[in-house]
């Protein structure tokens, strides 16, 4: 196969995971821009949105970190064996 056509499996996995996260969180605006509208500026409170958002993405963040740690371990295991 022409090497330029080959898509990195890491990229595919990343894109799929990201799209799944968006759907899971019903955060479709991460895929598409959202119309600009909102409450009166003087009473806008960005803090609550930030706290709720962290709880929303928390699962994905934990999974991401765990995957990263295991991926490192697997890589270390193999690099040690080939040496």
């Amino acid at each position: 196969m022409d090497p330029s056509l080959a898509v990195s499996p890491r990229l595919v996995a990343l894109l799929a995971a990201w799209a799944a996260t968006c759907l899971l969180l019903e955060e479709s605006h991460m895929l598409l821009p959202e119309a600009l509208s909102g409450p009166v500026l003087a009473y806008v409170d960005p803090a609550s949105g930030s706290l709720i958002f962290q709880a929303l993405i928390g699962g994905a963040m934990a999974v991401g970190l765990t995957a990263k740690i295991y991926w490192r371990r697997i890589r270390r295991f193999f690099t040690r064996r080939t040496r």
Binding site: H29, L31, E34, G38, G49, L51, I57, G58, L65
Partner: protein, 459 residues
Amino acid sequence: MTERLAASFRDPAGFVFRRDGDLYRQINSSYLENYNMLRRSGLYDELVSQRLLIPHVETDLAAVEPTRGDLVIRPDLVRFISYPYEWCPSQLLAAAEVTLRVQQMAMRFGMSLRDASGYNVQFHNGQPTLIDTLSFERLEEGTPWKAYSQYCRHFLGPLALMRHVDVRLSQLLRTEIDGIPLDLASTLLPARTRLHAGLAIHIHGHAGSQRRHADGARVPEDRQRLSQRALAGLIDSLVATTLKQRWEPRKSDWRDYYEAQRSYTDLAQQHKSEIVSRILQLERPDSVCDLGANTGRFSKLAAGATGASVLALEMDVASVELHWQELRKDDNWRVLPLVADLSNPSPAQGWGHSERGSLQERTQVEVVLALALLHHLAIGNNVPLRHVFEWFARLGSTVVVEWIPKDDPMVQHLLANRTDIFDDYRADAFEDAAREFFTIEDKIDISASPRSIYVLRRR
């Protein structure tokens, strides 16, 4: 004389004050428990040994407000205070990295940062260092990171805007004093950044969530729970996303800078360096400000010749970036390069015009270097010579200034497409204007060049 500094007036944990030239911080009783935890857990020692937190000593000084607390600490003094809108992209990135490293280390000791403001990081001996000792609090298991939004507004948003839109957008930080609002960052970033997992989450998704919950309704506890692993994952993801925002100037930009420095013959350049070096060795200043520092040739010379702390101000972001990168490579921590447009320097701003100091009040030095600068101010910016000297006199007591006559090719370059309305741009008028504020101590002609160097002493 005790003077409370305006920058810390919002913090209930304590405040900063100045007494007899030294800087102190009162720690209020309400914060004492967290402060003790910072010291006793070993976190303080670990952070200070890695130069991530400003060191301090506990004093027996009487509290300024004894009803609120009785502990006063004296932190090390930062020589030049600078602000995020004066940093080049790599400086902001370095400050962001330090903030996240501090948070990661704090978590290992059961603590967390309650702020992630860019103003809490200062360049201390060349190293970005957290200066707010009162930023730490006990980490309560299961709670989210309070400073997440502030981190994104102060660091990630501006870095992403510089990287993906235009490096000049860092200047938004000058008007948005608590960081660039995430909805604004999200609107300005190109659509393709929604395909970057990190930016899609921490900027676009985050902004959307803020917009949807902007009514300020109380968030129930169970809707803001975050496991320890999730919190660690969040910070890890912020580290990875932040490191991807490194600004890459085009290769041709760099070449332009090296080329632009060739307005001198090698002989003249060398003679100019010798003159400046000799003057500085005689003056032996503790502090120098290099105005229009470019990529720092003379800042380095000043730091090397005298061991002085040097503030290197330059308008061009790419030059400051290159300068900063070279300083890091050489491990030179005496020079602090900053982005500053001398025709419109950072103002005093924030609450009561005193939360953030003007560049001028932060630039009090012994020697001012103004080399290859005068024509930019007097001709490029139409500033009368008298006003230039009046301003120099406000910055320092000794000025080393280069006179560049009108027939110099660089001056002619500035005049190429303009009417020459600068009849007063002559050596005799220059000297007269200088004498209004200074005495002329010395004048040395640069060989193989029509330019000369003057040493001026404030009256």
